[in-house]
């Protein structure tokens, strides 16, 4: 699992890879944390869990990242050290939109919340769909997500 912060004129993009959907999702989330803050302690802050449902694989990634930004504002903590325990969906992860309607995809994850008062963090306003990619590649998954700064 790894991520890279990419150049974007006004905003910031995260390119991430993982050997499973779970690790690719977590890598994007860790990229979001890195884009928000250059340095934070390796320990401290409590872990909290995150659960999201959506109608497609991409929508699930979008809603997961949107939820993390929402939690940041509500809790006053930057979510870091992301773990995605399970991503489940129809068709064993084919990623096709399900025929039966919405909420066929779900995710269970957790993160450690670092109080914003303890770090030098900047605001990422939102996750965007612009140029979003989530693709199966040899040996895993690749994701590319642009965030609004």
């Amino acid at each position: 699992m790894r991520y890279e912060l990419c150049d974007h004129t006004a905003d910031i993009a995260v390119a991430a890879t993982g050997d499973s959907l779970e690790s690719a999702f977590a890598a994007v989330a860790n990229g979001l944390a890195a884009a928000s803050c250059d340095e934070f302690e390796d320990a401290g802050g409590e872990r909290f869990s995150v659960a999201v449902d959506a109608e497609s694989r991409e929508a699930l990634l979008f809603d997961y990242l949107d939820e993390l930004i929402y939690r940041r504002d509500i809790r006053g903590e930057l979510p870091v050290d992301h773990r995605v325990d399970a991503v489940s969906g129809p068709g064993s992860g084919t990623g096709e939109r399900s025929d039966t309607g919405t909420d066929e995809w779900s995710l269970e994850a957790s993160a450690r919340g670092v109080p914003l008062t303890e770090i030098d963090a900047r605001e990422i306003k939102a996750v965007t769909y612009s140029e979003m990619r989530l693709e199966r590649v040899d040996g895993g998954w690749e994701a590319y997500v642009v965030f609004d700064v």
């Binding site: 990419c6 004129t9 006004a10 109608e55 930057l78 900047r122 769909y129």
Partner: protein
Amino acid sequence: MSNVTFDADGITLERVREYVWEIPPEGDMRAPARVFASEALLEEIKEDKTLEQIKNTTHLPGITNYAICMPDGHQGYGFPVGGVGAIDAEDGCISPGSVGYDINCGVRMMRTNLTYDDLQGREEELVDSLFTNIPSGLGGGGIVESGVDTVEEILERGVDWALENGHAVEGDLLHCEDEGVRAGADADKISQKAKDRGKNQIGSLGSGNHFLEVQRVTDVFDEEVGAAFGLEKDQIVVLIHCGSRGLGHQTCNDYLRKIEQQHQGLLDQLPDKELAAAPAGSQLAEDYYGAMNAAINFAWVNRQLIMHRTRQVFERVFDRPWEEMEMELLYDVAHNIAKKETHTVGGEDRELYVHRKGATRAFPAGHPDVPNAYRDVGQPVIIPGSMGAGSYVLRGGENSMDLTFGSTAHGAGRLMSRTQAKNEYWGGDVQDALEEQDRIYVKAQSGATIAEEAPGVYKDVDEVVRISDALGIGDKVARTFPICNIKG
């Protein structure tokens, strides 16, 4: 028409006339795209995906005449920053992504009767006091922190709420677009999540490119209009740049997701999912318009609270009442917004959703939507520059209705990515250089923000304004230069 062209690495622009370039329709483009820029600015604009994004914008159903890229245009997400899309409000659509996440991100300028002489020697005291008293950065709270019921009142009532609660005076409403209260605002169309994010951020700058700046007027180019705006050389003014905070960001995403779920057919026709639009007349289009108008009210109140707090800071630093310092709102302009407006198209009046994302309304003298105070001279337009380059005050130009649906640029426009900026600059160095060379006092929550907002990462604001002026869409009135700058 001459057949001069500009080759932007695979996209050819045809010169319509000086500073006006057109990308003719091809493929599924429903209209041409026009770029209003000099060749020097085009050389910068072509470096990222701005032109591809303005082409994509023409795929939106109901796009009228042409999609517009302003001289400060740069790559955004979906719709470029510096973009204007006038879209038929009966047969077209409204696009939350084309308004942007920060609904009613905008700028306001407050006048004072102080001069640069009054302030010299007190810059540090002032910047420190502003930084301490005006919440900024991530998790910095707001001037007002309260429950969701207060958020709902603000969403519905805008600056009227601030007036009733002692954060505004009558004159503030008279010098704000729509008098600070957007009609058609519907707080019920804003999600609980968005309200929860907003309730701790009422009266806060946020981070990124948002800032509060104390400036001095260095030039008045048009004495008559300058007098109407109450501006004169050496005068101290305050510029505030921020938006609707987490409430607006959440609202945009809520509606992008609803569009994805309810209007997949329209979404499938668009080349970038971030252009997501609700068809005009649909329930979702109505709901978004009500929500966006409510978020507009929230942003106005946000800037109002910051401005009123600034008055109190000046009272303490200069030891006299703010009224005595004549700290009055000059104007407040939005630069991320979609407004239903009536424009003349092909000799007929048409109702359009005019999407301005990183673009400013610039209505000319005589237009009925310009507040009474400025109707004879045209709407004030405030163009913030980088923290080393100063800002401009323009007035809506007489050609704006014909050329750009009553719009002009919104700022300098970024040139360099944030990651590249952090590699090239160090916040502390930028801060020291500004103080030593230009006597600009900067205070920020984060050194990285200073590096990312260093003067060198922006386009030349002088050139952007020169083009606006030459086209007659926004005429130069005055120029200001920073003294104190606080940011997230």
